[in-house]
Amino acid sequence: MNCRSAESLYSAFIEDELSQEEQRSLEAHLMGCRRCSVAVKELRETLVLMSALPTVETSPHFEEEVFDRIRSGEALRPTLIEWLSDFWTAARLRPVFLGGAAVCALWIAVIVARPSTFLPSGGAGQNREAAAPSSNSPNGALTSSGDVATAPGTETANAASAPVFGPRAALASSAPAGASRSANRGSKAGDDFQWVDSQVPVAAAGSDSALRDPGARFQDEYIIDQFYLDRGGRDAAPIVPVSGNSTDDVYITF
């Protein structure tokens, strides 16, 4: 045993808490090490001095002051930590958790329901059925999913005034996709909205064999109407928005 390991056992040695083996080992070390044996002696003296410290008494009015503070009530207000620990009890939190779970469930339900509104798995017919009654309403109305239902014959006007929702007006229309697209292109005049196809570098197409015939490209190679996915085939073709973000460039290649 060296001095360092002996030092860690001083207190246990003084309080008789060492095992027999440890005790024998330490005693053997103390026999041969004056420094450690003196240290143990000093430690014993230190404990004697500690135990001789007088008890610090309270003032004579201590008890009455405590009761005065209790009677006044000012000292009985819970601290912030106590208030929080009270608040965070399971019984109190149960309604909070239930409420939070209900809100989350509702939110998830809305998220799940929204794609089914716009991208029906059962076919575009459902979507058309859902959109058609709205299109028959005399005035535009904001549906719960944020759609604007348009009155018949106002698709172009709506597309011009509200470009984001304009394509949805085309959705309600029974016109073929090509007609809708051309109608929407027509509505671009005087509008801030930039159609993606207007951004295609047609003028520079000479160097690109794929863009030699821009018209053919638009019709045959790409559908670049922004946000739309033609799900109904070229002929039936209701145009379905892919996303509401007007900065998305969605190119569907056939």
């Binding site: 410290l53 610090v56 106590e82």
Partner: protein, 209 residues
């Protein structure tokens, strides 16, 4: 015929009850129960807090706050635990808050800083009653011991005060400080060695005397 005070004391129904039983009564709203607990523990709590922070006036305020918290949380107390451990835990936590607050405000917490604050007029040391009958040398040594205690780091001080001043078991110290038994023993041993080093001169003086 007036009843003698001694007889009244004997008739006190709470005198023979354990702390836990008295606390149970206190939880049901017994003022006598709470008064009994204050009387039983006020010196121990005051002593503990005062040895921790070395400031008598502030220690008394904190000791009062300890009892107010006991009263405020009387319904939370569970009889399965020892009352002494519970109340000492409250006291230690409040004292730690006080030390943290002092460290924040002063940047450091040391006896030297307190000496500067008192303008060298002596420390606000916890000798409440004058001790005219005590030997001057003994008082000086007590002062040195308290001074040495106040200068060791708080985490060692709290362990050694609970063990050597309050006389709690290692298990109780561990429960109050929420540290494992091995750490308790290590801290107490380390604290005692620090105190020994600080008091070495006075220990020799004691031996010479």
């Amino acid at each position: 015929m007036p009843i003698e005070p001694l007889r009244l004391k004997k008739l006190d129904p709470l005198a023979d009850l354990s702390d836990e039983d008295v606390m149970e009564r206190c939880a049901t709203g017994s003022e006598a129960g709470f008064r009994t607990l204050v009387q039983r523990y006020r010196s121990r709590i005051m002593n503990l807090v005062c040895r921790f922070i070395n400031d008598r006036d502030r220690a008394e305020e904190i000791a009062q706050e300890v009892f107010l918290r006991v009263f405020r949380n009387r319904e939370r107390y569970r009889k399965s635990g020892k009352f002494s451990t519970w109340i000492f835990t409250i006291a230690v936590n409040l004292t730690k808050n006080e030390i943290r607050s002092r460290v924040r405000h002063r940047g450091t917490y040391s006896l030297d800083a307190m000496e500067e604050e008192t303008g060298g007029q002596g420390l606000p040391f916890p000798d409440w009653k004058p001790l005219p009958d005590q030997d001057l040398n003994a008082r000086e040594i007590q002062h040195k011991v308290s001074e040495a205690l106040a200068k060791i780091p708080p985490r060692y001080r709290e362990a050694v005060v609970l063990r050597d001043v309050e006389g709690l078991s290692y298990e109780e110290v561990g429960e109050i400080l929420r540290i494992p038994g091995g750490t308790v023993r290590s801290r107490i041993n380390r604290a005692r060695l620090m105190l020994k080093d600080r008091l070495k001169a006075h220990i020799s003086l004691e031996e010479d005397v």
